[in-house]
């Protein structure tokens, strides 16, 4: 897609727009041709207001100065037309993720885009916000816009699209009409074989407490609490899930448990040892494994080769007299790569050449191969294809079978519902609910910060069905 938007240049082939071949070699040309892209990671400037963000680069001028009044009017006009409500003078840092996405959409509409490209737009939204987004998309469609919607979620494809094109390893596998297909067929196209969409939940032998988080709090820069009195207990052979819309304290919780952030108060106990103030290195020695939510920032060194990435975190066990043992490393890495099906040409390839799915399998393979006691799995399937998801889920369940304790932090409701034995819902840094069984709607509401009462449940249950 970056090709289409002019961020990359194609080696070969042509792009046809309205029947005419055209060369798009940079984004501004793409914009001129009526293309607009809504990126997965928003391209907004936090300190500026919504209006400023929308007009940036194409500011209406008056005597050489920005005509803010006109800008605001134009923004309001577009937002009314498509029912995209935003506060025109609020700073980006103060608005919700859903609203930020609306600003992104307004940004491309302001540039008179006719073709809108959405890259994984639902990854950061609550189920309710997803429904709102879909309403918007339908309105845009009714307004004559063309929409390209990139997603790896089958359900969304079925819900919103008219036609689906399946890509696998950079190749078009096929294009089908949505009404002619079903999730199972699509999954087969995506992976190239039958996929089990639902995993079998086989209970592990739940045993002693492995990780205990007691009354953990974390204060932010302005003394505001990012985490409030968090209590979590995970036992041997148990998967505990943390559900929540991203940005509600999951990252902070992950970093506190991994020792990457100092906690303000409370205790973390791993295998009966207080590790609240222990360094990450010591925690790892004591049996922590960590699948980080941001694999490129935390989990990998993209410029390193596979081998160097696989020993990351366990480099001590491959060292003799201060020297790294090349042969031991290669042997070990071969095993990990094979077992976890990381597709690569050689161990000396740099990992930035791997696909997202293979990068993630590498991280997971590395973390699960060290015989950990406790696995901190944060967003383990973020941004990977169905095939890899299936594989990752299988491995996580295998770990439970081996009586590991697992904390699964995820924004994917299906993932939590199918893997976790117990789910805690985090909202604004607080655990707001803790149960063994939820419906999807219930989880969605809790994640959005609503206390679920009987009436409300009924009401929203209906509205979702109507959708």
């Amino acid at each position: 897609m970056n090709n289409l938007f002019g961020l990359y240049n194609p080696e070969e082939g042509e792009i046809f727009l309205r029947g005419k071949p055209c060369k798009i070699d940079n984004p501004s040309k793409a914009i001129k041709l009526g293309l607009g892209m809504i990126h997965q990671h928003f391209m907004l400037i936090d300190r500026l207001t919504t209006t400023e963000n929308i007009i940036v680069g194409e500011e209406p001028l008056k005597n050489g100065l920005i005509d803010m009044r006109k800008a605001r009017e134009q923004v309001k006009q577009i937002s009314n037309k498509y029912h995209l409500t935003v506060k025109t003078d609020e700073r980006i840092e103060n608005i919700s993720v859903g609203e930020q996405q609306r600003v992104e959409i307004l940004k491309v509409l302001y540039r008179k885009a006719e073709i809108l490209i959405f890259d994984e737009p639902t990854a950061v939204l609550t189920p309710q916000e997803v429904n709102n987004l879909f309403t918007t998309l339908r309105e845009l469609k009714a307004g004559g816009k063309t929409i390209i919607f990139i997603t790896h979620k089958l359900e969304e494809t079925m819900k919103i699209s008219d036609r689906v094109t399946v890509l696998r390893k950079g190749k078009v596998i096929g294009t089908v009409n949505t009404y002619d297909t079903n999730p199972k067929k699509l999954a087969r196209m995506m992976v190239g074989r039958e996929v089990l969409l639902n995993v079998n939940k086989e209970k592990g032998n739940v045993g002693d407490n492995v990780l205990e988080v007691k009354n953990l709090s974390l204060a932010g820069k302005h003394k505001n609490l990012l985490l409030k009195n968090i209590d979590i207990t995970i036992r041997k052979g148990e998967i505990v899930g943390i559900a929540g819309v991203s940005g509600n304290g999951q990252l902070e919780l992950e970093e506190c448990i991994a020792g990457l952030r100092k906690v303000t108060s409370g205790k973390i106990i791993l295998d009966d040892v207080d590790i609240t103030h222990a360094s990450t290195g010591i925690r790892r020695k004591r049996g922590l494994s960590h699948i980080p939510s941001d694999r490129l920032k935390r989990g990998l060194v993209p410029s390193y080769d596979l081998a160097k990435n696989i020993i990351l975190g366990s480099q001590n066990s491959f060292t003799k007299n201060g020297f790294l043992q090349k042969n031991d490393i290669n042997e070990y890495c071969k095993k990990v790569v094979e077992k976890f099906d990381v597709r690569c040409q050689s161990l000396n390839d740099t990992v930035d050449n791997l696909s997202g799915g293979n990068q993630q399998k590498l991280v997971i393979g590395r973390e699960l191969s060290t015989d950990p006691k406790f696995i901190l799995a944060a967003q383990p399937t973020r941004g990977v294809d169905v095939g890899a998801i299936e594989f990752i889920h299988k491995n996580i369940l295998e770990m439970r079978k081996q009586n590991k304790a697992i904390l699964l932090i995820s924004a994917e409701l299906e993932e939590l519902l199918s893997l976790a034995d117990k789910i805690l819902v985090i909202y604004e840094g607080e655990i707001v609910s803790k149960k063994n069984n939820y419906t999807k709607e219930e989880l969605g509401l809790l994640m959005a910060g609503k206390k679920v009462s009987a009436e409300e449940k009924l009401e929203t249950g209906n509205s979702i069905q109507n959708d």
Partner: protein, 341 residues
């Protein structure tokens, strides 16, 4: 084929940058009203034309190898050590004082000892900015620049106050014969220092390729978040790398004192510490890359003097070429485009 090309990609780009710099330099020389052929012949002759010239080139190359390596080592942990100049002065000073006051020791003890003392002094000067960075987040560029002034002026002060030789020149007495590095060629200034430089290159190369500490330092430089995630103490690694970097920069000063000047003199350096930055950039922060880049810069320095003396072309044009080399190395996209066409 492509694999081989990829392996030497950096070297190819650096060579292309050098060529391009000489081409643009030629245009500038022509525009300034000089003969390009005369200029470049004089330059080449001056740098490599005779055994003596060659020894002069290497004399200029050796400190650049050390200071270039120092910058490269800092880069490995993601730090920009601009403090090579100050670290070098500290090294030179410590070496001179050691050699003078322990002059009674035999050479085989005194030479290594004086070298190591120089390294340690440089190391201490590198430690401070590293420590400040780790503890307070003070940016190393700012602190190392400041440490340069302090280093250069503090050694001057100490010299004038306590160690100055009688007479008008601000310098120490000569270090004893036993502390001087033997000459490779008689009456030249090319000494065993070249072996020390190559030895250090080999050590640093092995250190980063094969040791755990080297791996951990590089991981911090490549992706600090990932290093911390893996349980590596990134602050400690940054301090380490600044200390190693300072040690190597200190050796630049040590070898100048022991091989060339045979004493400490104030303001002895024509900016080796700063040229080391350019050397590291051209050498792509690789130990052997630094070696070849240092030879180029050493040759430009030596050849430039000949060019000025015999072809009457101002030395400044050499500085312009040095600048152009860095400009083209730092702008790889430009080179890539040119190579593709």
């Amino acid at each position: 084929m492509i694999k081989i090309l990829k392996k030497y990609e950096d070297a190819i780009y650096s060579l292309a940058a050098i060529l391009l710099a000489f081409l643009v330099g030629a245009v500038l020389i022509q525009l300034s009203g000089f003969s390009v052929i005369k200029a470049y012949t004089a330059l080449f002759d001056g740098a490599f034309g005779s055994v003596f010239n060659l020894t002069q080139t290497f004399m200029n190359t050796i400190p650049l190898i050390f200071t270039g390596l120092a910058v490269a080592i800092g880069f490995k942990s993601g730090l920009f050590n601009i403090g090579g100049e100050g670290q070098m002065y500290l090294g030179a000073f410590a070496t001179a004082i050691t050699a003078i006051y322990l002059g009674f020791l035999p050479g085989y003890i005194l030479i290594p000892l004086a070298l190591i003392m120089g390294g340690f002094a440089g190391s201490a000067w590198g430690f401070l900015p590293g420590y400040l960075k780790a503890k307070t987040g003070a940016h190393e560029v700012v602190t190392t620049i400041m440490m340069n002034y302090i280093g250069i002026l503090a050694t001057s002060y100490l010299l004038l106050k306590y160690f100055k030789e009688e007479g008008p020149i601000p310098q120490t007495v000569l270090i004893p014969e036993s502390a001087r590095l033997p000459e490779l060629i008689e009456y030249s200034r090319l000494t065993w220092a070249i072996f020390i430089a190559v030895f250090v290159i080999i050590i640093i190369d092995i250190f980063f390729k094969h040791t755990k500490l080297g791996y951990e330092i590089q991981t911090v430089g490549e992706n600090r978040s990932a290093a911390e995630y893996a349980g590596i103490n990134s602050n400690k690694m940054m301090v380490f790398s600044m200390m190693i970097s300072g040690f190597v920069a200190g050796l630049a000063g040590s070898t100048i004192v022991m091989g060339v000047l045979h004493r400490f003199i104030t303001n002895f350096s024509p900016g080796y510490g700063f040229t080391g930055i350019a050397v590291a950039v051209l050498g792509k922060n690789k130990p052997w890359g630094v070696f070849f880049a240092a030879i180029l810069f050493g040759a430009l320095q030596t050849g430039g003097i000949t060019m000025q003396l015999f072809a009457k072309i101002p030395m400044d044009l050499m500085v312009v070429i040095q600048g152009l080399v860095i400009l083209f190395v730092a702008a790889p996209i430009l080179i890539k485009k040119l190579l593709r066409k």
